[in-house]
Amino acid sequence: MLETRLNFKLLEMCADCGACYNVCPSCLHIEGYDPRAVIRDILAGTHERWLTSKHIWQCLECHHCLEICFQHYGFENAMTALRTLAIKKGITPTQVKKGWDMFAKSGRLGEPSPMRKRLGLPEPPGSAKEEFLKLHSLYRESRLPRKGKV
């Protein structure tokens, strides 16, 4: 299943390379964050254990690996694929679940603060909530692929 999402040829290079360990903030500063261990398991088809690991959520999506990578690929793709898989199995961090629910309900992550008025800021422009909700339901009925190939 991960084969359809990830480019295994490129990941094989990753498993040997590791050049981005020197710029990846999580590799440098978070104990136990080791993308190549994850990638080797993906290649071997034994990645299941990572779905419950906090490490797959520690990729900051800072794109630093992508930019220095000679393949222009990067660890983050492997992490994103596993996160999506984890969510599908219901292993979702509470904050992610909350954020998604708020987004799906309102099209926003937080409403403009009442404080704005006190600061003399103009009325916030409308956010097209109805249109967003309609689009979301059209999408759910559609066949637009939910997962991108990365």
């Binding site: 903030p25 961090p93 409403e111």
Partner: protein, 314 residues
Amino acid sequence: MKEFALFWGCTIPARFPFLEKSTRLVMDNLGLPMRDVEGFTCCPEKSLVNNVDHGMWTLTAARNVAVADEMGLDLVSPCTGCISNLSTVKGELRANPNRTDEVNTLLKQVGREFKGRAKLTHLVPFFHDEVGLDRIKNRIKRNFSGMKVVVHYGCHMMRPYHAIKTDDPLNPKKFDNLVRALGAETLEPSTKLMCCGQALDRVDQHDVALHLARIKLLELKTIGADALVLCCPSCFLQFDNNQNLMEKDGEKFGIPVLYFTELLGLAMGLKPDELGLKSHRVDVGPFIEKWEALVQKTRIEEDIDEELNKEAFG
């Protein structure tokens, strides 16, 4: 200059309205043709939305770009995340006409069409490239000569480069140029380009988020930075809010965090209160006081010079 739409995103109006305020104030001061536009939703945020549903992420971003496309306006945002997300989707769709057709089939049913014509720019490269350093310098009442700051770009101001293309993704310069144009010295800590780490707070790993913030703050303290200057609400949350939380627990950093628009506003002669600096969690006072003291010092030096001149030349 062509009219442009401001894309505020969710976080600034919801959590940091004072950052919206300073952004509006400096844009007014420069007389920029900025417009508020109806109909934008969340950009949407990547780590929350894209991990759950890539299709909905794409569709929502495409719709936002379509809103700007229809009005023939370019977008400028004071949030790095918004620019990175919108640009990434715009790039993906422009490179993939089939996908664009699928997206437009849905968008048409709500009366929209993604064309991908709107230019999407973060406020910092926009000020650097479109407004220009000269025009900005002309509005400065008092510069920051004598002040030492660190610029924190925020990863998504320039990454991914293939989608954003406004600055070098590994060695960006534009933010430094702007801050130096305001007269401040910009320091180069080893953690300069290190990601703020705020994303960890969104995945239930608060302690790890603090750990990453701490690394940078300690280095800034060691090298004697007067402030950290940034232009992203997520980085602001990380360094202002989380620094404050750690200080409440007894750690000491004392690094004031300034949004670029606030720094610029101060240089333009706007008052700290007007800019909402009181709303910061970490006290900005030490930065302002040091800056004020520098004026006093220059004044005294000027007076002495005048006295000496008088004595020497009568």
